[in-house]
């Protein structure tokens, strides 16, 4: 599925993607294309890319790449797939009731869910909000367990 979307493997690529996406929501999917859940998410992303293309651009990031490790560390990515949203090089958070507001962990259940989330974040960003509430009902938000090293 990953061939349908642009895959970034270098830090500079991610940098320029974040910097050059202006007044549009940038969706970065961190994961690896061999993972089954990633494939599921990629499928949804690739199918909805065209529909959200006016206000969002989507890119995949390969977590196995050596140069990406600094971002993996920076974004605290421990589970794949993790989806992170940016707007004008600013990180966008979403309160989805889970422990981690900074990213969406796991796949979306269906295409419309993803579009709703992207739209909600975009609307929030255009209003100057750095954090938005998740528009999806809790049963369609994937659950995960965060294990903290120090806690």
């Amino acid at each position: 599925m990953s061939y349908l979307l642009r895959t970034l493997t270098k830090k500079e690529e991610v940098d320029s993607m974040i910097r050059d996406t202006i007044d549009k929501l940038l969706v970065l999917r961190f994961g690896r294309s061999s993972d089954s859940v990633c494939l599921q998410l990629d499928d949804i992303l690739s199918k909805s890319e065209r529909e959200v293309s006016k206000f969002a651009s989507i890119a995949l990031v390969d977590v196995d790449s050596e140069e990406i490790q600094v971002y993996i560390k920076y974004f605290d990515i421990t589970l794949i797939p993790s989806t992170i949203f940016f707007f004008n090089a600013h990180h966008m958070k979403m309160d989805s009731g889970s422990a981690d507001h900074t990213k969406w962990v796991g796949a979306f259940h269906r295409k419309q869910d993803f579009i709703d989330v992207v739209e909600e974040i975009f609307r929030g960003a255009m209003k100057g909000k750095l954090i938005v509430n998740c528009p999806l009902p809790p049963e369609r938000i994937p659950k995960f367990q965060l294990l903290y090293k120090d806690v």
């Binding site: 940098d15 910097r19 202006i22 007044d23 707007f87 090089a89 422990a99 507001h101 750095l130």
Partner: protein
């Protein structure tokens, strides 16, 4: 300016009557000074007004700058394309006439001949006398006979070269012929050729049109040698001359045409379609001489694909210029980055000049404060680990070893 000079002496006639009573009657008549573009009744005195002197010098220098171009072509004559002839003309201020370049094969040819003409000289002298330009300056505004003779010599030599090269295509060819012969000869020739071509009757025309295509095929496959081409052109010229010389009935000229072509065909040994070969071959010579770059057959790029001065339009111009909320997330950053990107696109800024350790703003999980804070935190953390390890190792050694005072240490060492 002139107005002020006029208003200074509102009743100039009275003044002038005092100064020169002899020309009293003349002073009252107004005349137009075309240098100052002004009606005045000052008579000859007008020429000495500072305003007139000023405008005369600017008037003359303007015309002289125009003449500079013409003098350039006088030094080095160049061929004039017939299609550019309409652009190439000038207004002679002394003769008040427009000198066009229609029918001249060299740039500014008519202009130069006009400047050298006796009429122009006369008008120039009159002008200078009338407006007080100074007779010593006359030579600047005309072309001397010596220069004209030199120019004509150069033109003739160029013409010969052009005729020998035959490189300018069929349009220039006949204009070269104009020079070889006198004007009325050319006109005569022109009429004749028209006469001979139109009422020549149906037969030759049919031959031409029929065989054009076959011949062109055979040409492409077959002979491209220049000799035959030259022969063909020669044949054409001789044919023209024959047509000229033999001022006979049309049928006769037609016959001559046929004979000439037939002979040429035999000389080349190229079948019966010789009559039209000439035409096709001439077009091929034009292509061969002009191109040097190649043509369709040699696989050269077509002229509209000229990549050297192609205007490169950027496909991604600007996203959508809509009214965006100025309070949206990262608005200031977006504006700044947009300008940067625009400059990068124009090449004013080097692209991707940001450092490799750049990181976007990211709000971490357990983080309060702005997004920038977490980035700084992370940058501190990434530098820290080494330091932490060193500190920890120090701590451990210190913790393991109980504190021994200096004195005790010294004592122990002594012991």
């Amino acid at each position: 300016m002139e107005a002020t000079s006029e208003t200074k002496n509102p009743n100039p006639s009275t003044v002038s009557t005092e100064s020169n009573s002899k020309t009293k009657g003349k002073n009252s008549t107004f005349e137009f000074c075309k240098v100052c573009k002004l009606n005045h009744n000052q008579g000859r005195r007008h020429n000495y007004f500072p305003n007139h002197v000023k405008s005369l010098s600017s008037f003359l220098s303007r015309f002289q700058s125009k003449l500079a171009d013409i003098r350039f072509f006088l030094k080095n004559p160049s061929l004039l394309r017939p299609e550019l002839a309409s652009h190439n003309r000038f207004w002679c201020v002394f003769c008040e006439s427009d000198v066009t370049e229609h029918g001249s094969s060299f740039a500014c040819e008519n202009g130069i001949s006009h400047l050298a003409s006796a009429d122009h000289f006369k008008n120039l002298k009159t002008f200078m006398w009338k407006h007080g330009g100074g007779m010593d300056r006359i030579d600047r505004f005309r072309v001397s006979e010596a220069d004209l003779a030199k120019y004509e010599k150069k033109c003739i030599s160029m013409k010969k070269e052009g005729a020998s090269e035959q490189s300018r295509g069929p349009l220039i060819g006949p204009s070269n012929d104009i020079h070889n012969e006198l004007k009325f000869d050319y006109v005569d020739n022109f009429d004749r050729s028209h006469n001979s071509s139109f009422p020549n009757g149906v037969l030759p025309l049919q031959n031409h049109t029929n065989e054009k295509y076959q011949v062109s095929h055979s040409d492409i496959s077959g002979s491209y040698d220049n000799k035959s081409l030259l022969l063909a052109t020669d044949a054409m010229h001789s044919n023209n001359y024959k047509g000229n010389a033999g001022k006979s009935c049309l049928n006769k000229s037609h016959l001559q045409n046929g004979q000439v072509y037939a002979e040429k065909g035999e000389a080349n040994g190229e079948g019966s379609s010789a009559g039209l070969q000439k035409l096709t071959q001439i077009t091929s010579t034009v292509h061969g001489a002009d191109s040097g770059i190649g043509n369709v057959h040699s696989g050269a790029p077509p002229p509209w694909f000229d990549t050297t001065n192609a205007i490169h339009f950027d496909p991604v111009k600007k996203p959508v210029k809509s009214k965006l909320n100025p309070k949206r997330v990262g608005a200031a950053w977006a504006e700044k980055r947009k300008i940067e990107m625009e400059m990068e696109r124009k090449g004013e800024l080097p692209a991707n000049k940001f450092d490799a350790s750049w990181l976007p703003n990211f709000g971490r999980v357990w983080q309060s404060g702005s997004r920038k804070d977490s980035r700084k935190e992370f940058q501190v953390e990434t530098k820290k680990p080494l330091k932490d390890e060193i500190n920890q190792s120090h701590d451990s050694t210190i913790q393991l070893q109980p504190y021994i005072s200096k004195r005790m240490r010294r004592e122990s060492n002594n012991e």
